[in-house]
């Protein structure tokens, strides 16, 4: 494992974001739920035009403790599935331009142990020698076999909107 990381370091076209931000929202007439994770890890490879993202489900911060508990213990089952991952490729990515570009990232999103192919629209900005990627997309709770008891089904939206923002730096350490 250490060896693979060492190889990783030699590649000059890799960028890392250790403190990416992912926020999700569930809006219903009963209540609005919002949770934020400021410690999302992402690696961007401008050579292969690939992005990998990994986050800890327990690192999402909610306004209320009860929401955090339900989310981790009942819905996501964080003991069994502590992480959510994404791995994908940026289609038609122009690594040279310093202009803002909106691209599709096609890849696999894994939440709650379930993998699903997904297209995410993202805006990419090159600032100096580093990149910023941000955007917003929707996922359906049903797609990831997340069971919500009937009593609470009116409190949680069927589709959850997810916002992300990554500021990459050169992978040098």
């Amino acid at each position: 494992m250490l060896l693979s990381f060492a190889d990783f370091n030699k590649n000059e076209n890799q960028f890392i974001a250790r403190q990416g931000q992912v926020t999700f929202f569930s809006y219903t007439s009963v209540e609005n739920i919002e949770a934020k994770n400021n410690q999302v890890l992402s690696i961007l490879d401008t050579d292969t035009q690939e992005v990998a993202i990994s986050m800890l489900m327990r690192a999402f911060v909610f306004k209320k403790d009860l929401m955090y508990e339900h989310f981790n213990e009942s819905y996501i089952e964080s003991d069994l599935y502590p992480k959510a991952n994404f791995r994908g490729k940026i289609l038609n990515f122009d690594t040279k331009t310093s202009e803002k570009q909106t691209k599709i990232i096609r890849g696999n999103l894994n939440i709650h142990g379930i993998s699903k192919e997904i297209d995410i629209k993202a805006t990419i900005k090159k600032i100096g020698e580093s990149y910023t990627i941000y955007g917003e997309f929707e996922v359906f709770v049903n797609d990831f076999q997340i069971k919500i008891p009937p009593i609470l089904s009116s409190n949680i939206a069927k589709s959850i909107s997810i916002k992300f923002n990554f500021q990459y730096q050169h992978y040098e350490e």
Partner: protein, 145 residues
């Protein structure tokens, strides 16, 4: 007499509501996130913590995740990205570190920090990605050493 009774009940009623607000409301809200005065379950160095996670993540998750732990290490980086205060602690293995999300009530202490300074951080361990992640941290500057 009757009006006196009414006042008595009104005051009593308000008092009961007051008590309910004070004692029941916190149950539905976020609990006190300040860990400064809580006792850590484990104390160890950032090197040991990272070493354990790199060698056996599953076992380390059982040992540390969800617990209040106290980690000693050297400041590698201080960032204020997305309105958060974050300290990254060094380890012997340069690829890995400890990301500490610092509670906003510790702002004054962050200002006093210098790079490569040795500090002790107490927070809730959330797990390991490329770094171990601690949330709601408080800082101990270790001025006695």
């Amino acid at each position: 007499m009757k009006s006196k009774n009414k006042i008595f009940f009104a005051v009593g009623f308000l008092f009961i509501i007051f008590l309910l607000v004070i004692f029941i409301k916190p149950i539905f809200e976020a609990s006190e996130k300040n860990l400064e005065n809580k006792v850590a379950e484990l104390t160890l160095s950032s090197n040991d913590l990272i070493h354990n996670y790199v060698n056996n993540e599953e076992k380390s998750n059982k040992l540390y995740t969800g617990k209040i732990i106290e980690v000693t290490g050297f400041v590698k980086q201080i960032t204020f990205l997305n309105d958060t205060n974050t300290i990254i602690l060094n380890s012997e293995n340069e690829t890995f570190g400890v990301i500490c999300d610092i509670n906003s009530n510790q702002k004054e202490k962050i200002k006093a920090l210098k790079l490569h300074q040795k500090i002790r951080v107490k927070g809730i361990c959330k797990g390991f990605l490329k770094d171990v992640i601690l949330l709601n941290c408080s800082i101990d500057l270790m001025t006695n050493e």
